[in-house]
Subunit: 428 residues, 4 copies
């Protein structure tokens, strides 16, 4: 298709063209719906600025609607020759509407167009992921409630430290997910600003109303300075990816725990066979590959975030083509996080604690801090002395339930504070 | 000094001891005041839980006050043998108060103690940096006002794109800094939760009141789940460092621009000689090394953030000694950001635009988009046709001031929206 | 297709299956030829170990040949259900040869199979890239020769430092590329070891001859310890990617220089229009987007390398599914480097220095170090005194050619040492 | 002290000066001996170039010797005002020798001086680390020999996979260390080139003999192009740090294994108490913090390497002050690796396998692959059928020693190939 910047007579070296296009056209399939939404708002703005007549606007909106339907139906493709979704949209309008279509690019540049489409992509997915995190947190809270009395060793340095419960673990993940959701909300609120109207970075003499188009697209505010619209590329993507990395750090912790607790040596959980995959050479193997990939995908998201910062590093003000390469890490990590949230929910549904197995693994040592605390509470011994005495003491027969019930400080195994966490679910 | 965990008869290999201590004791000098503050709150909590009598509390608080004074006076040191500031504080209390001092560690672990001290360190510095960012944004806004009519080329792809003003650049940095400040505020609000009382990760049977100690330390809420207190190490540090990296991405952009604009070939600014350093071999050199280091320090902060995520990667639930290594990146980056904000303010004060030099460098090409826009506005030509016509047009004599004034879209050079940005300064 | 590990009655959750497959099957299309090559060697080894008869071997080899032809013709696909190329190959053999095909997986595991295929992929591409780097270095050396007398400012701190030549720049890139090629060679030599026969990580009781299969595949040695075959995953990929990152650091430097030198303010080079792309809004723009993408792709490769290290971080001995995620960064970066080397060669061919423009930009200051050196050489003045005197001196009319010719130290503009560099080209 | 570039009348803002000095002066204490060595060679070169007389050279060499002695005695300090070690050396010579001292900086710049000192630092430490790696590999080989018949489960996906031996694990680490040593050797050989004489990046008209000074310092070759001397900063540091990261990836794997194998649930090794540290709240805890820090320090080295690449990213040709910030990651990681190699050796000496505990943990499942292989070898069943049959088979009483002895493929538990690995130790 015709490139927007092609003048007659120029020809770009085909290898150069291939290199600059890269796989960008693939990513633009994802951006297309957001670019159409932004084009709709922009067209309305042009009508308000008297660049388009009411009638022209109606035609453009109808044509964009048709295009959107085709996109949803999967009948629109972007080829490497198209370069990007912006070109496809403009060319489509020109093809269908002639001179009217040629007006759509008034007062905008692909620079603010892509910034806008990417921003819409991010706010859209932040909402979705926020809801998914709450749903997953709710599952962990339910799990915590059900298993709140099932004893399990608590570890520090991967050594048995003090007794705790399966519910305590589950509630820890739940609170982590709730915090992650809060952070995504904060990111959403911080980046909820319309870049549209920044044009190539230096605004325009066309009397467009940026507040109007911002509202049309559902943005809370305008990102004011048109040069900053460009300069914030990389910064905003990094914020977004920090949100995603935070989610993966939570899920990775869960994955690492379960992978440890389901070794034959620990054997704390029954794993539903539907969660496992096998080995090509060892017939007995039932591996939780899915959690190894959750763990691994955490690393991918971290690298994606780094890549965005690296790309921004050292750039001067204004648009640079380097930022095109931010799409891939953005989209890749979004998919990873969405899918990882989902599979962790499935895995949780297939994990059943094996209380009898667990209890056999609990060592006497795990109670030494309790002994010291008892010496403090019952005999009034200063803690440091009690600590020394407890080191040589024997635990004797410990009633696990009682032991757990005695840990009454907020957030301890005997007082999980599930109501406090549940309340955060409700107040989204 | 005596280690808290030393029982009689054990001895650690000195090389192992040296390796595990590392340079941590140096970082703990920084943490000491925050650990004292937390110890104060903890002691009050122990009194409330009837572990300490009123009188014992009074003595402990007085001794902590004295210790704090000594710390401020620089007369307290932490040696490698002391291991950490927690040990120094407890040993100091024991030395001064005997059995009373031995009670301070009731219902707490170094695990939640360090989490608390680090959290206090972060919220403390987030406030300070927030104020510093607003002060720097104010400087850039003043600069924008003063130089809002000084023409300068606007660039995309480091090629002259459209005409803009020095004020437009300055306002872009200001908005970026305001956004960074907002993000730091959001991080502060997200992490403003007391870890104290999480103990080793599994709570305690001592009836401590975590809400009470949280309020005593000025935290807004309690981080509920005691295991999550440990699991959030790395996550919270990464959030904090994302805030710092965002600041550096802004300052790095400024540094890159100025380093480009002060080459002999651009020569857009007079640089006060007090900002420059020289060469050992080329007597004429006056280099803005300071901005090269701002740029470079941006990379250091990015690597520091990565290091924190790397350290957390793959860890199971509960404390692991790996997290000790998060202190260094945290403290290093905090110092970098504080100092970088300061020197950028100084540099800005020594930069004077050279309008006559700048105007000579403005090429005719810079006006082609304006010509196209004129064809649209005056002749009603569809933009894409105007674009093609403008490619061959000559700009003729352009009145720079008028050209700039015509860019009236919000955030464009002719409508910087400084009042909107200033308003954000006031509403902190 | 049938999974290798499927026993009757088990069924994996489809979402789990989708997540674990991921996009891995896409990457395995790339690995297929290498896996076929390894299967060929493995089959020969099985015959030597009397697991396969001569006749069975012949049939397997013929079937593998056919499969390879189909792969080259593009008629073989790997679907998500196939899981990976190993499965496709084994299933193909079983389908064609029945029981004979079922023997191919004797004494091997997908764990060593993928390690072997990936290793072959790497050594294959290291050779190709090595040759491409030498070809590109040769172009830069030719360029250096042609333009060895064209004066251009030399910079430090992006400030004019001392006079140099276009040839001096070109020779710097050439030497950098030669060093990169040497490093790739070193990596190739270090990783040139056969993993085959490591099986699942713990060897096999089947009497296979690992030296024999290593030689069959063209490896120089065997990677001995079968567990280390698995543990080196991530390490070897990181070495390989360090090689690729080194190349990109060289190309990135070139890109950054050219992007600076082709701003309107520097304007040191004529750029062939076939190298440039345009703007959708500013008709005059001719941007070297291709070099911005070379620069940006440098960041992508750095992040890819990091991702591989992150994935390996904290893993215990033996295979983990996390390593599957190393394929993407490996293949992505290989493509980037191959294409970047190519386009940089094309760009170089379209860059012509503009000596008259350049000379106008040379400042007097650039000669102060020369004046100091003259005072040292002609008047015997100690350098530090000469330095101070030169600071106030005026350069007067400097003969640029003579100035350059006077810099006779090895590797200086007047003595580029091109013959030394060319000699490295010949002795590959 | 006097800065080398200070002309009369100029004064740098003290905050700017503080920021540009940073903590660099601290790092330069480390560089001092290398800078003295380079100064010695440079002085000899100046005598050869007739800038210094024989007598002047003698005096300079004697003064450098004295300075070196003082440095070794710890009586020389570098203050922030000194800026760097280069300044201290030159000022010392001027102070002691007057005009003679003022000649030392002829034909060199701090730019090539620091490149040279850093290069010497790297080659020096590469040799030391190479030897340390061989020593550690030897310890692991001895350990492998001693424990080559001690059965232990082999894992994949952290699930018991096949039976192996403690010796097999130890030999895996040994081979990994030998490969790391080879890589350090390769890096040493690649970077073994003298930067001296590159001056500020553009050579000199003083007739210095770069081959001569290279040899004087023990370098194998000259890094030819003087601009490339500067452009390779960041590249060479990254190569070096890749070497260090490789070492840490090996040690991290060992640490992760031991931390898993010494949980109470695995309990495969007796750990000498001298290796452990305790808890402040749980009297029973004996943690292998040292290995957690080895694991964590691996992450620090990875971040250090990234930091160096980040710093280099996007820089144009020639020296930039950003590279000053490469010293810290370089020195920090060097210390980490040197100490980590040492403590891992100590830890290995305190680890004793507990064969009876281990054997109790070996599950029947671990033998399924062996059963399949037996069906292949004894009954001639095709592997894929044997695999399916073995899935339902029971292992019965397995003789562990025999089972291990049967794994005869090279590098398998029954054929560790220790002699091959030992041979690599001898042929350094």
């Amino acid at each position: 298709m015709t490139k927007l910047w092609k003048k007659s007579g120029t020809k770009t070296n085909p290898d150069i063209e291939k290199y600059t296009a890269g796989t960008d056209y693939l990513f633009d399939r994802v951006l297309m719906p957001f670019d159409i939404a932004a084009s709709r708002a922009h067209a309305k703005g042009l009508e308000k600025a008297h660049i388009l007549s009411k009638d022209e606007l109606t035609k453009i909106l109808a044509t964009l609607d048709e295009l959107e339907t085709s996109v949803e139906a999967g009948t629109v493709t972007i080829t490497p020759e198209d370069e990007d979704c912006h070109t496809v949209i403009e060319n489509h309008l020109v093809e269908k509407l002639g001179d009217i279509g040629k007006k759509i690019h008034t007062a905008r540049s692909r620079n603010d167009q892509v910034a806008t489409a990417v921003r819409l992509y991010m706010t859209h997915h932040l909402s979705i992921m926020h809801a998914a995190l709450h749903a997953l947190a709710a599952k962990f809270l339910d799990y915590a409630q059900v298993h709140q009395h099932v004893p399990i060793p608590g570890y520090s340095h991967t050594q048995q430290a003090m007794l705790t419960t399966v519910g305590h673990y589950a509630a820890a993940y739940a609170e982590s997910l709730l915090d992650d959701a809060d952070f995504l909300k904060a990111v959403e609120s911080l980046i909820d600003k319309s870049p549209l109207g920044g044009a190539a970075g230096f605004g325009t003499s066309i009397p467009i109303d940026r507040d109007f188009t911002a509202k049309e697209m559902g943005f809370g505010r305008v990102q004011v300075n048109s040069l900053y619209v460009q300069n914030s590329r990389g910064k905003i993507e990094s914020l977004y990816l920090e949100g995603l990395a935070q989610v993966m750090l939570t899920l990775q912790r869960f994955a690492s725990d379960v992978l440890l607790f389901t070794t034959q040596e620990f054997d704390f959980f029954d794993v539903d066979e539907s969660l496992t995959t096998g080995s090509s050479i060892m017939p007995h193997k039932k591996n939780l590959d899915v959690l190894e990939l959750v763990r691994g995908n955490g690393s991918v998201v971290i690298a994606d975030q780094l890549s965005v910062k690296e790309l921004a590093k050292g750039l001067t003000s204004g648009y640079h083509r380097d930022v095109q390469l931010m799409k891939k890490p953005l989209f890749e990590s979004t998919t990873i996080v969405a899918e990882s949230i989902e599979v962790v929910g499935i895995v949780l549904g297939g994990l059943l604690p094996k209380p009898q197995h667990i209890e056999k693994k609990i060592t006497d040592d795990i109670f030494t801090a309790d002994i010291a605390n008892e010496l403090v509470q019952k005999e009034g011994m200063p803690f440091r002395d009690a600590y020394k005495k407890a080191a040589d003491a024997k635990a004797g027969n410990v009633d696990l339930k009682k032991n757990i019930a005695s840990k009454k400080s907020l957030g301890a195994p005997g007082n999980l504070g599930l109501d406090i966490l549940r309340k955060r679910l409700r107040h989204k």
